[in-house]
Symmetry: C2
Subunit: 278 residues, 2 copies
């Protein structure tokens, strides 16, 4: 994932996003941006209050120009959905009716299946203030609603589009734990490397009288090894740790010690035998 944006794969497919009588250009722009974030590209507007094109929409789209430029405007919802095979209506309110009600996860699985089968699909979003009318919902095949906090259920239009776009992108992924980039790859350390760390550290501590009284030394070593190896080390980490020990062991301080407030001891740790340096 290096290089400029223009070298990166631009994903632009999937269901049409249909905004019914959107009021603010800014919201249309934020919808376009949310679509672009998750690879959707086809925006349709039914009767936008302030007309189209809209400079406010373009500004709010933050460079999602490919969505803004391809946006189509219709006079009626019927025209806006005429060429589609299957349409979802989004709503936060319970509706009287027979239509199936789906969660975003289930809806996006259905949309992905239909997409793979060559069907054209769309998702309807209502006006900023009061959503879709019952008549508009009736034109859709199914309803999709978000698993929101019941006491605070109203999503703004760009956020609703963002969530559906995000679920659309996720449903197309084979592995939901996939990420666009990975951490630096690390090789697990071998036991030999771990033992080398132990010995290095223990020798440096021993030379300073850390293992005191001598009778407790074996137990203290066991505890020390348990503490520092509780999670598996990578080769790189072993190398970082050994550098730290080298530095502490070999080189003198170059300025006086500052007073750092001590951490309060956790009771269960206080009982492990070790030298806490006090």
């Amino acid at each position: 994932m290096s290089g400029t944006n223009s070298e990166r794969e631009l994903i632009a497919e999937g269901p049409a996003i249909i905004l019914v009588e959107p009021q603010l250009g800014e919201n249309i722009g934020m919808v376009a941006r949310a679509m672009a974030n998750f690879g959707l590209a086809e925006l349709r507007l039914v009767n936008p209050r302030d007309g189209w094109p809209s400079e406010k929409a373009r500004a709010a789209a933050s460079k999602a120009d490919h969505v803004i430029d391809a946006t189509k405007v219709y006079e009626t919802l019927e025209e806006a959905t005429a060429d589609l095979n299957f349409v979802y209506a989004t709503t936060a309110r319970e509706r009287y009716g027979f239509k199936p009600v789906r969660s975003p996860v289930v809806a996006c699985q259905t949309l992905q299946q239909k997409f793979k089968g060559g069907e054209k699909t769309g998702i309807l979003f209502g006006r900023e203030r009061w959503g879709l009318t019952n008549e508009e919902v009736a034109l859709a095949d199914e309803i999709v609603t978000f698993p929101v906090n019941p006491a605070f259920a109203s999503l703004n239009i760009a956020q609703a589009v963002l969530l559906m776009s995000y679920e659309w992108m996720k449903c197309g992924m084979e592995d939901l734990s996939e990420t666009l980039f990975d951490p630096v790859e690390q090789k697990p350390s071998t036991k030999e490397q771990v033992f080398g760390l132990f010995e290095h550290l223990e020798e440096a501590l021993d030379s300073r009288g850390y293992f005191h009284p001598p009778a407790k030394k074996p137990r203290m070593i066991d505890n020390l090894r348990a503490v520092i190896s509780r999670r598996g080390f990578s080769e790189q980490e072993i190398s970082v740790f050994r550098g730290v020990i080298n530095s502490l062991d070999r080189f003198p301080r170059q300025w006086p010690r500052k007073v750092v407030p001590r951490q309060q001891k956790a009771t269960d740790k206080a009982e492990i035998e070790g030298n806490d340096g006090e």
Copy 2:
């Protein structure tokens, strides 16, 4: 899900959302609203540019006052995370480093596990323009990044918070197909009810000479029954259909027929024997 908002369950728990040096009050407000939508309540600000409290934030929060009122302000990120056990940093950019990189789904599973285990967690979000510094990312335990369109990867801060809050809510659900409300419950019809519909319709059609030529009547009836019963009917639907047939069958038109453009026939349907009324 009836009644006013105040009667509904207010969910307010889960990870703290920590905004590092947010610039615009509007964005802080939209973050608060997104949190409230999905049941998060603890907002922390590190050095907000325009100070706190912010009237712009309160206005943009659209009544998420419980989040705005409880927002805490800190001078440093270290102070803002001091009481937490586990912290995620959100970033859209690849970072050099050893930290595990997680998808939102995996991150929210981890956060839910830690929540159930009594740990306090948080999620860091960077400045509007350029996110978190490497030093700030270094203070977190793990990185979380969104499965965005590689060519259009930049999410605004409220949208990033919305997605994490939404995943948090979803991870706490036992069933991802769950919805807050359901369609009108429908009883599947019995075969007797379906046969009643067939007979009703066929009698009304027969009385008008629909089954023509008579030799083809059995085949035409088979086809008609197949077409109208392809998906299972509910009792309610049978009842609606029978009302429609009654109306067409019994009552005369009250105004002349309008010309409705005919649907183009699909080739595969044209071969099924039926009377298309032409």
